[in-house]
């Protein structure tokens, strides 16, 4: 496939791997966090870690948008879906995320009309063709998806569609990174910046990470060679004693972001004073809500949302696992209350989360798996 295969070339990967190994200082351990769930997926899907030396490890960050939705918000959404005449619409990977009382799939089985869509525009289409129903879009995601939600609301307003609304759970990436950076026991040497989010916000907003926290960040693309090259760039900065924000994903990410997309978000949404993140707790100014002017499209205002907070069990230590302070198995609930079938924290919800991966495959060392495929 053109524009894909070029970025998956095993020979180029081998060459990069050699350069990466050459940059590593003997005896030094390197920990880099990939912030974005899409990166975690690429790393897992292509087996990128096989190309990294033992001394370089990748820490999977909090950037999986479905995994950070707290249980209470899932319950709220299900309560809306159970209102008479409602069609709830959601992205596919939202369907399995458990709330305090089951997931969308469970609610659908119990009778709620919950439909999977690929874009908020599909949800608007459903609203157009079902004028007698109230169609709600379960909006989730970072700055990658919030512009499309905002544009959809603007279009609904322009077309005068009045049976469409948004249950807004959009989150913003910077406060989450900041929460991790503020941790006293942080053990990270740098960040692989979220490429898709950066197509919207650009690279400039990350500058405080290098300036104030002394951690380099390379804004990375999503193909395997993108990630390897980004690791190389991080190591190069460390080797040369630099600490900067660099853009590896220049073919997509403009330094200043996408101003029109940012404008659309700003027109329709505003920052919430605080929002709860699954496993990380409350983070101030970390999420978006609908502006007063668009109240007619705000499911939170239109419906009587219970707003019940489902507390993460106290022992859930996702935050520590995310920061690389704890190994998954050191978490108090790992493998007991928190399993892939009954996930509590964000690291277990996604099959690629650190805890889910360790639960499924932790009994095999990476080396054993690699050797098994080389026979």
């Amino acid at each position: 496939m053109r524009f894909v295969d070029e970025y998956r070339d095993a020979d180029k990967a081998q060459a990069l791997a050699t350069q990466i190994a050459a940059l590593c200082e003997p005896g030094r351990q390197y920990k880099f966090m990939e912030v974005c769930g899409g990166h975690t997926h690429t790393i897992y899907k292509h087996g990128i870690e096989d190309y990294l030396p033992e001394s370089v490890s990748l820490v999977h960050g909090p950037g999986c948008p479905v995994c950070v939705i707290p249980m209470g918000r899932v319950d709220d959404a299900i309560a809306i879906a159970n209102e008479p005449g409602v069609i709830m619409t959601a992205f596919g990977d939202m369907m399995r995320v458990p709330g305090g009382n089951g997931s969308f799939l469970d609610a659908k089985a119990a009778g709620a009309d919950i439909r999977m869509v690929y874009s908020p525009l599909d949800a608007l289409k459903i609203a157009r063709t079902n004028p007698d129903r109230r169609v709600v879009f379960m909006a989730i995601g970072f700055e990658t998806t919030s512009p499309s939600t905002a544009m959809t609301v603007l279009r609904a307003a322009a077309e005068g569609i009045d049976n469409f609304s948004v249950f807004c759970n959009h989150v913003t990436i910077l406060p989450a990174i900041k929460a991790i950076l503020d941790s006293p026991d942080l053990r990270l040497d740098g960040f692989l910046g979220p490429g898709h989010v950066s197509t919207v916000i650009g690279c400039r907003p990350y500058e405080f990470i290098a300036r104030d926290y002394g951690k380099p960040l390379v804004c990375a693309g999503f193909e395997p060679l993108d990630l390897l090259q980004s690791v190389y760039l991080l190591l190069q900065q460390l080797a040369e004693g630099r600490c900067e924000v660099e853009n590896q994903y220049t073919r997509v990410v403009p330094w200043d972001g996408n101003l029109r997309a940012l404008e659309a978000i700003g027109q329709v949404m505003e920052l919430r004073p605080y929002f709860e993140w699954r496993g990380l707790g409350f983070i101030s100014h970390s999420a978006l809500r609908m502006r007063e002017e668009y109240a007619a499209y705000d499911a939170e205002r239109l419906f009587d949302v219970p707003g019940v907070r489902v507390a993460d069990p106290k022992a859930c230590q996702c935050g520590e696992v995310l920061k690389g302070v704890l190994k998954p198995w050191e978490c108090k609930v790992f493998g007991t209350a928190c399993t892939p079938e009954t996930p509590i924290g964000t690291c277990m919800v996604s099959s690629e989360g650190a805890c889910a991966a360790y639960y499924n495959f932790g009994r095999f060392t990476r080396q054993r798996l690699v050797e098994a495929t080389r026979v």
Binding site: M1, V4, A10, A13, Q14, C36, G38, H41, Y44, K45, H46, G47, I48, E49, D50, C64, P65, F91, D93, M95, R96, G100, N101, L105, D106, K108, A109, M116, D122, I140, T145, H196, P224, G307, V308, R309, V310, A311, P313, K327, W329, F334, G335, T336, A337, C338, E341, T342, I344, S351, N360, F361, G362, R363, F364, R368, L369, V370, A372, T373
Partner: protein, 383 residues
């Protein structure tokens, strides 16, 4: 205003876990204790946690397995059923017979490359064929929704008849039920089939050995992606048709050329990855797959790439997955490629001893990843 409560299930699970932890021995390192606990949980017979059926129970992954093993096998327990193969094999007098049943609820009913009718014939014929049997007779049960067009039903019956003729089987008994409008999605079909085992083959995961070869008879994912696109929800068009076909002729050709065939499966729901996981777990061996050898049409690769779906889990309706004695791999491949339904056959992997129960993929990029059993339907990712 926000009030707070806790999730009941999480609290209960934690209390149970604490009780277990207390009983655990103190000799192992903390990490080993955790791993041991997981291992015990893994070995425990599957439990159905849900209080209602969800779509995941029908997707062929972990949820389907827990439903079958935790409910149906419990209820109907007998040695023939407990094999949990695509069809049951048993003796009547001096004959060995294979018997199977399958229901078809595909939407849309008509799609490029076929319709629910030929699917219902081919699917059941294939379940017999992969049991090593020559398919003989089928039954056909129709559940029809009030208002369903007779013209559509005639079209379906005609294509069933044509598929049966191609497969050399006869539909010898049937049943019709009509339900009220809204109680079904147009037309559902159940078929059951009987076949006879004429070769002295013994197929099953118990025969699989390290060094065996894993072969697939053609490009994967055609049917699943065709159906996804035919639903019209995606606004993607591709020149792609379902691969629905009766495979018993191909199976015959294969068994003639390679008597060392250990196992045959048709890769339907859950795709090739699900079958390989079943193989690895039942045989307690490893399946090592080479991603760049897995045959796939560019349209399937492209659609899956766009949708964020792994093609290894996408359904086929006319693809054989077979495990063959490694020494006969070339003979098996040559035989498959000589048949019109197997001209795209490829050796995709090997069986090894370690790590037991796992399917590992050597990625085209040169890395390694675990190919796990799916929990439910493969759901598209947003990022």
């Amino acid at each position: 205003m926000t009030t707070e409560r806790t999730a009941g299930w999480a609290e209960r699970a934690m209390a149970e876990a604490e009780a277990t932890a207390e009983r655990e021995s103190g000799r192992l390192s903390p990490e080993q204790q955790v791993l041991q606990r997981i291992e015990r949980a893994r070995r425990r017979s599957p439990k159905i946690r849900e209080s209602r059926i969800t779509l995941a129970h029908g997707a062929g992954g972990k949820a389907t397995h827990s439903l079958i093993e935790g409910l149906f096998v419990e209820a109907f327990r007998n040695p023939t059923l407990e094999e949990l193969d695509d069809g049951a094999v048993f003796s009547v007098g001096s004959s060995r017979l294979a018997f199977t049943t399958d229901s078809y609820v595909v939407s849309p009913l008509f799609f490029p490359g076929g319709d629910i009718g030929d699917l219902a014939v081919n699917g059941t014929v294939n379940d017999l064929a992969v049991s090593g049997a020559r398919p003989l007779y089928l039954s056909a049960g129709f559940i029809l929704e009030e208002g369903f067009p007779i013209a559509d039903l005639r079209r379906i019956a005609t294509s069933m008849a044509a598929a049966a003729q191609r497969a050399g089987v006869q539909v010898v008994t049937g049943d019709t039920k009509v339900v009220q409008r809204g109680k079904a999605d147009g037309c559902y079909i159940n078929t059951a089939g009987v076949g006879v085992l004429e070769r002295p083959v013994s197929l099953g995961t118990a025969h699989i050995r390290p060094g065996d070869a894993v072969i697939v008879s053609g490009p994967i994912g055609d049917h699943g992606v065709t159906i996804m696109l035919a639903r019209g929800e995606l606004d993607i068009a591709a020149d792609l048709a379902s691969d629905t076909a009766a495979l018993h002729g191909l199976v015959d050709t294969l068994l003639d050329a390679a008597p060392g065939v250990r196992l045959l499966r048709d890769a339907t729901r859950g795709g090739v990855a699900t079958i390989l996981n079943e193989v690895a777990q039942a045989a307690q061996l490893a399946v090592i797959v080479d991603e760049s050898s897995v045959p796939m049409r560019p349209a399937v690769t492209g659609a899956c790439e766009l949708l964020g779906i792994d093609p290894l889990y996408v359904a086929c309706e006319g693809r054989l997955v077979t495990v063959v004695d490694g020494a006969q791999a070339e003979a098996a491949l040559a035989a498959l490629r000589g048949h019109p339904l197997g001209d795209g056959a490829a050796l995709i992997g090997r069986i090894t001893a370690d790590p037991p129960g796992m399917v590992l993929l050597r990625t085209a990029f040169g890395g390694t990843r675990v190919v796990d059993m799916l929990v439910g339907d493969p759901l598209p990712r947003i990022c």
